[in-house]
Symmetry: C2
Subunit: 334 residues, 2 copies
């Protein structure tokens, strides 16, 4: 018996958001390999250097799985989070923002070590975001931080692929999966980023086939996972490999594949496209809120869609707006 | 001979912005005396309590005079700032945001004491902002922090009235005025807030009459300063009391009074009114950029107006947009 809809496990990060020109990204690509639209890990010196090169910024709590969890809690779902911040001001910011939406977040903070993670997010005029992450304390998450009671209480444990970038976090990831399945609960994975998929393709293929119940991926990620030329080829391969796959395609909408059934949902184009940061996270949040509350796959996908639209209408991956509006009038299928 | 257009002296603050309901403000008013639209000083315990009561937030550099200076630098003006942050992460944020726009900011940081100041800004559905400031390190600014060379180099030294809330900062304020006038430069004052005016009316009346060249005030502040029933009465009194007064009236525009000459400029209503935080600061920034670059009073007031409109079109008192757009095509009067 579970009392929590969704547990998120991921990197606990504060985002540092700023606008940047195409020329700036091109220059950073040439000099440091920054990939437009991707996520790159950076170390302390580079983080200091990059911060010195960007303009005035806005700080906002982030982290892929944490963004998803904040959406679920904002919709009124019961949610928890496991991730590592340091005992510093940015750690306070991250913890406050989760706890203010009633997310259960009790992972012990790192003391006396590296600071809380931050992600420098450069938003270009086309609303695309390019991310540079200094992992800091987030990378210190390990299997000892996984509280069995918290995992056992969650109907779905949602894990971000980015955790695979650090060995200790990867162990934490595997531990969550073992506990969840031992208690008869489900495990969801987000592939996070096509560059992340390239880094961990074999691991992710094994996870999807053998350890995961629900997969979230966008078009680029699922094609990278199976090295296909088209989305349709990747869609064919994923059918049957896991219980449920939710594949997002930007302005082409999303496709849910579940035990032979395929549900397609159109995108909702925002009145103003401002910043795509957190679009996939918000989709996963809306979908999982619906899924764990007994709504149909189509209703769940539609909820994910409108929440993604809400998030890309402003800068940053979170919102302090009242999201319960989105579930008013929503009736369960049965 | 000065090389800097404007030096700002004020509280160095990071803003914590969130939306709040009218009911929340009314409840906080009843319990803690929070005045809608005003700025209230709070201490450590109350700051912790209030942070625990508000929703997910966004952090952004703030501080009234610092916001004005960031606008001037963003427009391409030469600008400097004196204010106190601590040697902590929020201090890094504040310093980065000023330095990223090429503002000269070299005030020594406070070490081993209280943390960097933060202001909890609650934005109600009518776009009005209500501020609660924990001054922390900002209140430790004192006369020793005033670098004579920095003041001597600035055509205008711009001071915020909020500095009068703490005695050490008030001394710093007076020191800036003395140095500026000794070097033949001008001193500007923003009255900051009608509640701040109530707290320091006699001091401010003396400053305006005897020590200030340029006064910035909104309708409520100038009426509070002279305890008048109408704006027109206050306008009559201020004429002749200082060289130049720039009086803002929200959607009724602004009035510049200078040695008998009166210039009125209409407001520019934004397509979307989001948050009035920083409107007056942005107006002062646009005006002072124009004034110190040889534009007419009317051109300067118009520049202040469009920058205020830009700032109230989104959450927070700053912008990372390229502001030089606003001065393109602007031709000097003579």
């Amino acid at each position: 018996m579970t009392n929590t809809n969704v547990l998120g496990v991921g990197n606990a990060i504060v985002d540092v958001l700023t606008h940047a020109s195409e020329e700036f990204i091109a220059d950073q690509h040439a000099k440091y390999g920054m990939e437009k639209g991707g996520m790159m890990l950076i170390e302390t010196d580079r983080a200091t250097q990059l911060y010195g090169q960007i303009g005035q910024a806005t700080e906002m709590s982030g982290g892929s799985a944490a963004n998803t969890i904040a959406i679920i809690a904002g919709l009124g779902g019961s949610a928890s989070f496991i991730g590592k911040v340091a005992d510093d001001q940015l750690g306070d910011v991250f913890a406050h923002d989760l706890q203010s939406t009633a997310v259960q977040f009790t992972t012990p903070r790192l003391t006396g070590g590296v600071p809380t993670a931050r992600c420098f997010i450069l938003v270009t005029p086309d609303a695309q975001r390019t991310m540079n992450t200094y992992l800091g304390a987030a990378a210190q998450l390990n299997a000892d931080d996984i509280d069995e009671a918290v995992v056992a209480d969650a109907q779905v444990s949602y894990l971000e692929g980015y955790l695979f970038d650090k060995d200790a976090a990867k162990q934490a990831f595997r531990r969550v999966g073992e506990i969840a399945h031992k208690h008869g609960n489900e495990v969801a994975l987000s592939l996070s980023d096509s560059f992340c998929v390239e880094r961990h393709r074999a691991d992710f293929q094994d996870l999807v086939e053998n350890h995961i119940d629900i997969l979230f991926a966008n078009e680029q990620e699922i094609m990278a996972l199976y090295e296909t030329d088209t989305f349709e080829q990747a869609q064919d391969i994923i059918s049957g490999k896991c219980k449920l796959a939710a594949l997002t395609r930007g302005d082409k909408g999303s496709v849910i594949i579940s035990e032979g059934e395929t549900v397609s949902v159109s995108a909702v184009i925002p009145a103003q496209l401002e910043d795509t940061t957190g679009a996939g996270d918000a989709y996963a949040g809306g979908f999982l809120y619906g899924y764990t509350n007994g709504y149909s796959l189509k209703q769940s996908a539609e909820l994910g869609t409108v929440l993604a639209t809400e998030i890309i209408s402003h800068m940053g991956p979170r919102t302090d707006k009242d999201l319960k509006f989105f579930t008013e009038g929503l009736k369960k299928a049965s």
